[in-house]
């Protein structure tokens, strides 16, 4: 059991923190912390796994108990034995390039005997259905497989409490469903789960209680039934994602939403009233290091429309975007822009690509400089930049260094850079992963307005809410096709 009594914590090097947090998590319970980005969910998670204030220094007041023992008095390794932590991005958590080595890491640290380490590791690999990945390098696994590996590495130590910080932010729908199966199993085994999450629908049947955290405080708590009864208006006001899949999110364009398989030779989607094929792809094929990534992809994207590119993790969606935008060369097939066949170098000047990984996309010292990089500074352009910063909720950060922004703010800045790039075709890779409902709506509004202004937009996404909210067409990419 974990109990927080009137806990306040403020980081030593910033103004961020949480205040007056009182939370009681019973044994075997699943509590979901939700709320807007930057609201304090991660700080609460860090308090629960002891990383704050031991690793992240700051001023702590109030009391936190882990099974009746004051948690701050325990060394981190003692907390780690009882509280397992699963972080947002598994890519930068791994210490080994091999599955078994990674899963065994925690057991090795605690000095368990070799036979015990082997039996726990093998059991965890088996329990999380990872056996077929033993011979593969961890770097080449899909996001879902990496996340399952991260959970297995915690599971092997057999803690009774799991702290998961946005575990699905890089997962597709099926990946999230697989994770749900694992968490159900942990819950059935009597484990306590505390999950910070924006995507809520996959937690149906697992979550017992939802805690809404905003501006560093707990605003309300609701049980699963109450949460499902939340009206659309209440949910939107709180900036929350849908609670049950199938619920409408924003404007549902049921009659124009077309599910198309790009590998099939079906006719192109119905063209709009004044069609202008901005991008035409025929029999596109890509092979890298002897491995076929995708083949036979043909589709047309029209001016003024937003097309969602969906498909499972590892299906080749990002590779397709890299080829389309000229950052990779195609191995076969052809790509036409405005009716003319274009080579990779030409495509780079006409198509913008915003990667999902925003960590390496920014080069200047301020948000404004970033947006004006490589462009003339006319009054009109400055005005447009100001407008866009306002639309995306970034105006308050216009002088901030891009690296100091939160993940969601970086994603919005990346979109702003694309919009201001003056390129007619924009491709965004997972622009709303890990974002709350409010930020997702802001992005959907900007995408709609750019499409209306004549841009052609392709959005790679797992976010069905975003697809329903603003996309005209959906293309599904299947692995190796």
């Amino acid at each position: 059991m974990i109990r927080m009594e009137n806990v306040s914590f403020h980081y030593i090097d910033s103004e961020e923190g949480v205040s007056g947090i009182s939370l009681n998590v019973r044994n075997g319970e699943c509590v979901v912390l939700t709320g807007p980005s930057g609201g304090g969910k991660t700080t609460i998670m860090r308090l629960l796994n002891g990383l704050a204030p031991s690793y992240y220094p700051g001023a702590l007041t109030g009391r936190i108990f882990l099974n009746k023992t004051p948690l701050p008095q325990l060394p981190l390794y003692a907390v780690g034995q009882q509280v397992g932590s699963v972080f947002q991005d598994p890519r930068s958590q791994f210490f080994s390039s091999e599955l078994a080595g990674e899963v065994a890491f925690a057991c090795e640290n605690y000095g368990l005997l070799k036979d015990e380490i082997r039996s726990r590791t093998d059991y965890a690999i088996d329990a999380l259905s990872l056996d077929h990945l033993r011979e593969r390098n961890l770097d080449v696994l899909s996001s879902g497989e990496k996340q399952r590996t991260a959970i297995a590495s915690v599971y092997a130590l057999r803690p009774n409490i799991y702290i998961c910080d946005e575990p699905t932010s890089n997962l597709d729908y099926e990946g999230a469903e697989e994770l749900a199966v694992i968490l159900r199993r942990l819950k059935a085994e009597g484990c306590t789960l505390v999950i910070a999450e924006h995507r809520l629908s996959w937690l149906h049947g697992i979550a017992d209680r939802f805690v809404y955290v905003c501006d560093g405080r707990i605003r309300w708590e609701r049980n699963a039934d109450e949460m499902e009864r939340l009206s659309d208006k209440q949910r939107k006001e709180a900036g929350l994602r849908v609670v049950r899949e199938g619920e409408t999110a924003g404007v549902y364009k049921g009659d124009v939403l077309v599910l198309r398989e790009v590998n099939e030779t079906k006719s192109d989607p119905p063209a709009p009233c004044s069609p202008a094929a901005a991008l035409r792809v025929q029999n596109l094929y890509c092979r890298k290091k002897g491995r076929e990534i995708f083949r036979n992809i043909s589709f047309t994207a029209y001016t003024g429309q937003i097309t969602a590119i969906t498909g499972r993790n590892g299906a080749g969606k990002t590779s397709l975007a890299l080829v389309l935008s000229g950052l990779w060369r195609e191995s076969g097939g052809q790509i036409e822009i405005g009716g003319k066949k274009r080579r990779a170098g030409q495509r780079r000047r006409q198509i913008w690509f915003s990667s999902n990984d925003t960590g390496t996309q920014f080069f200047t010292n301020s948000v404004t400089e970033e947006l004006l990089l490589h462009s003339e500074r006319s009054e009109e352009r400055l005005e447009r930049t100001r407008e866009l910063l306002n639309d995306l909720g970034l105006y308050a950060y216009k002088d901030a260094h891009p690296t100091t922004l939160s993940g969601g703010q970086k994603q919005r800045l990346s979109i702003a850079c694309g919009v201001l790039s003056d390129r007619k075709i924009l491709i965004f890779d997972e622009p709303t992963s890990g974002l709350d409902g409010g930020s997702m709506n802001q992005i959907a509004d900007v995408l709609r307005s750019e499409a209306k202004a004549g841009k052609t937009i392709l959005v790679i996404t797992h976010d069905q809410e975003l697809v329903r909210c603003c996309c005209d067409y959906e293309m599904v990419v299947f692995a190796g096709q």
Binding site: L76, F87, G101, E116, T360
Partner: protein, 231 residues
């Protein structure tokens, strides 16, 4: 096919033997004995990827040496001295690469067995993960620069300092971020636990390992006996 790694002790012994042999030999031509043993050693461990690349590398150097020696080939960029030096050191490269491509878990198990302090083992594990991660980040920075038109030749020529800054600043910041995330991941999984670390890969030195220890000692001794020792 799965690799059959020899014990880390054997790999260190092989590295020591090749360094000693190449440092002491009076006749550089005989170093091929050590190189061929090194290639056989890779084949035994089923490290075929390294075997192919090192085999091609060694073959190319041999061809260049032949052309230099018998056909008066003159190298402009990569001088004759370097060709000979790399040819002589090939055996060290082979066993050295084999050692550093050993799964980090096996290296950690060996270090743990010889009572190396845990912070040193973790430092080594971080180092092994850090370089491939940073390589991926570097690629990502390059891709972002291309996407934004910052790698056009004209831009690079006119703004060389800014271009360097564009690469260095995000790389250094990512470096800090990744180091931080790895540390958090380690600390949350008991890296600070006092006492000896356990190991999944812990294994006893087998008869095959002892055989290879003997092979390397015998080959190095024979090589020095044939090629004579430089005094």
């Amino acid at each position: 096919m799965q690799r059959r790694n020899l014990a880390v002790l054997v790999k260190l012994w092989a590295l020591g033997c090749t360094i000693l042999g190449i440092s002491l030999t009076a006749d550089a031509v005989w170093t091929f004995v050590l190189t061929v043993t090194g290639l056989a050693y890779l084949a035994f461990q089923r490290n075929f990827r390294l075997l192919c690349s090192m085999g091609v590398f060694y073959g190319l150097l041999t061809l260049l040496l032949y052309l230099i020696q018998y056909h008066g080939l003159h190298m402009v960029v990569f001088s004759e001295f370097y060709v000979l030096m790399f040819w002589n050191l090939s055996a060290v490269f082979i066993v050295g690469f084999d050692l550093i491509t050993t799964p980090p878990g096996e290296l950690a198990a060996f270090l743990s067995r010889i009572h190396t302090p845990t912070p040193v083992i973790l430092g080594l594990l971080v180092m092994f993960r850090f370089f491939p991660t940073m390589k991926a980040e570097f690629k990502s920075v390059g891709r972002s620069m291309r996407n934004r038109g910052l790698t056009a030749p004209a831009w690079l020529l006119l703004h060389p300092v800014s271009s360097c800054e564009y690469v260095l600043v995000p790389m250094l910041l990512r470096c800090l971020q990744i180091a931080d995330q790895l540390s958090v991941s380690a600390v949350a999984r008991g890296a600070e636990h006092p006492g000896r670390r356990g190991s999944y890969y812990e294994k006893r030195t087998s008869i095959i390992d002892w055989c290879w220890l003997f092979v390397w000692a015998a080959v190095t001794g024979l090589f020095l006996w044939i090629g004579d020792v430089r005094v």
